[in-house]
Point group: C2
Chain length 721, copies 2
């Protein structure tokens, strides 16, 4: 391993000049520490690595530590086979490492569970070392990545003492990847899963993917789209899944699949998919047993049923709970779970779409098997730039609810806008449902602590594709990174996560770190302002969801149009969800319900979500709705100008290739922010009948121009003939 | 530039250990020369680079020489601003370089034309230097790449004297890339053209693409599919095309587009696309003028008309010549050309498909405008593993004919088989048409020398995609490379081209070079043997063309089935194209016609292409057809075993990542070669009724098993819902 480490060290010391500085290395760069003092401190403290044990995970720990430390310290850090010297990093479990077993850490390790770890500098066995200990190998791997991050971000080795365990049990990426390699709502090229060449050809990216996820604590991947294809359950495809699982396993990533509810008919040629039919239940049991013979640590199924045309138990007059049970029973025997999505709404139902999930699922609380989680999107509509938290959180106390965040930026600029999503996620996680009085935050609902659930989890809809930089937009990597960190600990702050990522990805110089951080922290509010300020939602282009489309009014179902949501008229703007309207507010606990229901107490950021407001009504600022709307749209566009100016002041501090990548995209974002602003205001102006206030830039084109733009090949939907 | 060169040098000296050793650098690796003696010789001879001039191409020459030489020599080779010392590489034209102007090379440069170059070591102006001179900047760039290749392949600098000019004027890649980024018959991921983010986002790969093509003399790219989409002619898309052209221009790559014949209706809202309609002609003239305002060096149009459902002049009872003329006239004013494909055949016509191109085009000879080339596939059917040369070559003396080769391996193993195509291309180029007596080779037809045409060209259907290694299979790079080299000089040998590529891509150690070369040189015959030996053709799976499908008999048109081509029956096997059959042989000149028509003189490799042969007939070997067929199929599969064994003997000599990539794919190829063998023999056995000869491995499954396999998401066709 010494030779390997040396080569890697040379490679990394060159990395800054590498032609391949295309973002492909993500945040796992391990370039030589630039701060001379820190480098000296680290070199003094780290002389070698002792990782005892023989599992595949232990091998991964050894490889990562030797590669990472050799790169960061700019000198070969050898792997040791026994304790020799001071300055050894000892990593392992009491089972794998006699040395660690001898330290009697059982009391400290016990509360850390299966995935937690402790890191401690100090004298052990009489020698000054750095200890990474855990109950299981995977915990040690997480600890190793934590230590490497600590050095990448120039932490102080002197006083290092960490005990960390994940707050959530399931930390999962959902890939909306189709078997033809298109990715629904994917903006980073196409699927990284090369199904056609699996299992014979193992793309080097599969391991890189597993490493990157393990480095942020993600422990599961649903590799197929929720709009499911039963073909993935065919034996030849299951063997491909087996090959992927074999690559993921050492990194603690369990593989999950989406189950197409009528697979017993499509694949098994049965006459029904009725979840209470014995033949159907047997088919699923046999299929699940077949999967486990190939993938002994298979995680289970994610199911989208009776939603947007997907088949489900309701086709047979059965409930979601009955449908989930059919899969949950045979999975339970193998320690597998079912993640059942609550994202259901019917085009025929006249009820406000935002209310339908609660209407369908609250009555089922308590009827789900105990290895079923109900997966709920952060808000009641669909991943809009800003939504109030979903009213299901807190409303199903007997059922473990899983959070579904969307990491891919379907509604937040897709592949070209720099929008750091963690502040939006933080807003939701910190929201108080009052389900059991004050302090019943969404975070406590999903981590299981509010009701004491054994199962807990978070799902992130992946933004990963086969682009060289993984996420299309380099800053999309920050959203992947932040998602994983929040899934490990929903209590982390979005700003501290941003700083970690910046220091690992770009540089450690404090001034530059602050600049990039302020760009990131301002980006979400900017996007809300230039797309959907004041609680507006779902006014994007139809189908591909690219660009503004407030005029969209003719779709196969009304709740897919924009006019359904903004309700603009001569009077005013906004969706009345008070008791006078759809009364969606009734689904929230008091005092949230009354706060949202009252025009006075409703937070302005949700104003048009819950209220239809007159154009001439005054807001807190004293401005009329129309004036405030115009100002928000303009502030959004101006904020993007500032983001770009700030980024360009970093020229020379960041390698040219990545600097240019981001700068070009900020140029596009500037144009598109103005496009959103001018198109939306031109449209709403036809209702308000008022001029855009003096001093504000007027739209560059007239409304018919904006309505005429077409993008038949915008990415993220399946290509068509 | 010194600093840059130094950094690059460091980077390249590390490249062998680069984590990104994924094939992305193609053959332009510029790693430090390993042969110590050669390195000394080169270092002694090369001290600096003098490239005078200020054009974008001159800048590219300077960058390439300084980067390449610094990498190869392992020391910084500075860019100079004036002649100083011995050991300077001087590159330029008499126009750009006063020094070169002073050498009075006009007589030697004159015959080299616009793209040729000369390289000469020796004393000039009293100093021992290396001279790269040409009439135009682009010629100098070609010379620079030639010199770099010479060093990469460890040539002897002592006696370097080269004069080289391309034999063909148009050396073009045809991208069958759709605007949704799917690639028809693409097996290397998806399109590298990110149309959605153009023109604002310039992917770094666009320049890498242009560099790679310039390095092998390719000077044009048709960036859109021959199954054309008129949207590419919409102003917003033309601005994206403009952005690509700006990146390509310094590297001498002209951009071309495919013209959808009814674009005046789809885009211009006209009522007709009749090529004789004045409004239609005006629409095209205006569109062409619009293109040239954005892309002043636009190359012209490639057109697939009245073929496989594409619209064309015949929809209006006009001829191909009349259709081409409509586009040729306005293009002529801008020095643009039309490439009109001869790949036409009608499902309704009962005539043998292999005859239809000649039937339609020979009568039109002499009717095409003088800036039109007719583009002809190498064989009369469709890029099969082996076809006789297309009878159009030599049959249209008054029309410049362009060769269309398929670099992507639609019928030769797609993304998983190592098949070096140059020997197949060489076979066609060397074939003698006897159009004007012996020596009228296909090469002389397409280079224009046989009839003295001003225009000449070769088109290669690209195998490039967004996979990290560009071509999916690492050895697909060799086909891209060889295509470019043959387009520059159709007289080059496939073996010498293979050796160049191996030395540039992998290593220079003679033993290993020979091993890899023998693998490559054996690969095409092996593929023919395990897929379609003895002149069999078009027996692959339907639609995706993946895997064997000799049983395919039900398609929307008979000439898309396999049974149409192999004509297997109880009697025997093969398509009778003699006068007793379709008489396709009549389209060849004597003595070729008689040689193909006679069962005795017909080369065995074309036997079943031209003859229906009894199962019991004896071949030259004394074996019956059935025995010979079985032996060919088995030899093919065994050859792949040998290829893999030979490759694996190189373990340790080639970096692990690329070694593994190829080894995994050879494993797949081994399986698929047996699959082809066993499926085809099991099928043909149902007609011959004979056993597979003793000593030959029997099929692993029965015929129904092979017929039951389905691959709904095999790559290369547009994904479907």
């Amino acid at each position: 391993m010494r030779k390997f480490a040396l080569l890697i060290l040379l490679q990394f010391s060159m990395a800054a000049f590498c032609l391949a500085e295309d973002g492909g290395r993500l945040w796992l760069r391990y370039d030589k520490i630039e701060d001379a003092q820190k480098l000296d401190q680290y070199r003094a403290a780290v002389k070698g690595v002792l990782v005892e044990g023989s599992s595949a995970t232990v091998a991964a720990i050894r490889e990562e530590l030797e590669m990472g430390l050799s790169g960061l310290l700019g000198e070969s850090i050898p792997g040791l086979t026994e304790m020799q010297q001071e300055g050894t990093i000892v990593a392992g479990t009491p089972t794998s490492s006699p040395f660690i077993a001898g330290l009697g850490l059982d009391k400290r390790l016990e509360p850390l569970g299966e995935e937690g770890f402790l890191i401690q500098t100090g004298k052990f066995g009489g020698k000054k070392i750095i200890l990474i200990a855990a109950n299981r190998d995977i915990g040690v791997l997480y600890g190793a990545f934590h230590l490497l991050r600590y050095l990448q971000t120039n932490g102080d080795l002197g006083k290092l003492a960490v005990e960390s365990a994940p707050k959530l049990k399931l930390r999962i990426l959902n890939h909306w990847d189709n078997l033809d390699r298109t990715v629904e709502r994917g903006y980073a090229g196409f699927s990284i899963w090369d199904w056609h060449r699996l299992p014979g050809y193992i793309d080097a990216r599969y391991k890189e993917y597993a490493r990157a996820n393990a480095s942020i604590g993600i422990n599961g991947a649903v590799v197929t789209n929720v709009n499911a294809n039963s073909l993935i359950l065919r034996p030849d495809y299951l063997d491909k899944v087996r090959a992927l699982a074999d690559v993921f396993r050492p990194y603690g990533i369990r593989i999950y699949l989406t189950a197409r509810f009528n697979a017993p008919m499509e694949l098994g040629k049965l006459k029904t998919a009725d979840p209470l039919d014995p033949e159907v239940r047997q088919w699923w049991k046999d299929k699940i047993d077949e999967i486990y013979t190939l993938v002994p640590d298979f995680g289970g199924f994610l199911v989208k049923a009776n939603s947007e045309g997907q088949p489900g138990p309701q086709n047979y007059n059965r409930t979601h709970a009955e449908g989930a049970d059919m899969l949950a029973q045979p999975l339970k025997a193998h320690n597998g779970v079912v993640m059942w999505r609550a994202f259901v709404y019917s085009g025929d139902v006249p009820v406000d779409r935002s209310k339908q999930a609660n209407n369908e699922f609250v009555p089922l609380d308590g009827q789900f098997a105990d290895n079923v989680l109900v997966q709920v999107k952060n808000g009641p509509i669909d991943f809009q730039p800003r939504e109030p938290f979903h009213p299901l959180f807190g409303a199903m106390p007997s059922t473990p609810l899983m959070m579904e965040f969307q990491v891919t930026q379907e509604y937040l600029g897709q592949g070209t806008h720099l929008v750091y999503l963690a502040p939006m996620w933080e807003e939701v996680l910190d929201a108080d449902t009052y389900a059991k009085g004050p302090g019943s935050t969404v975070a406590k609902v999903i981590d299981g602590s509010l009701e004491g659930h054994r199962l807990s989890g978070m799902a992130g809809v992946s933004n990963i594709g086969n682009d060289r930089n993984w996420t299309g937009h380099l800053f999309g990597q920050a959203n992947w990174y932040a998602y994983g960190r929040l899934a490990w600990n929903p209590g982390l702050g979005s700003a501290e996560i941003a700083e970690e990522w910046i220091r690992m990805t770009f540089l450690n110089d404090p001034g530059s770190v602050e600049k990039i951080k302020s760009v990131m922290m301002a980006s979400h509010e900017a996007c809300v302002d230039y797309m959907t300020p004041l609680g507006l939602h779902h006014i994007m282009g139809a189908g591909h969801h690219y660009g503004p489309g407030p005029w969209v009014s003719r779709m196969s179902r009304p709740d897919w149009t924009s006019v359904y949501y903004h309700k603009a008229d001569k009077e005013g703007l906004g969706f009345d969800r008070t008791p006078a309207g759809s009364n969606a507010v009734e689904q929230y606990f008091e005092p949230v319900r009354s706060r949202f229901a009252s025009r006075e107490s409703c937070p302005e950021k949700y104003l048009l979500w819950f209220h239809h407001v007159k154009w001439t009504d005054k807001l807190a600022s004293g401005k009329t709705l129309w004036e405030a709307l115009c100002l928000h749209y303009h502030h959004g566009a101006e904020a993007v100008n500032r983001m770009r100016t700030s980024w360009e002041s970093l020229k020379g501090k960041i390698d040219e290739e990545r600097f240019e990548q981001v700068d070009m995209l900020l140029g596009i974002q500037e144009k598109e922010a103005k496009w959103w602003r001018d198109a939306c205001l031109s449209y709403f102006q036809t209702f308000s009948g008022m001029d855009i206030p003096d001093g504000l830039e007027k739209p560059a084109h007239d409304l018919p121009y904006y309505e005429s733009l077409s993008f038949p090949y915008a990415p993220g939907i399946r290509p068509r003939w």
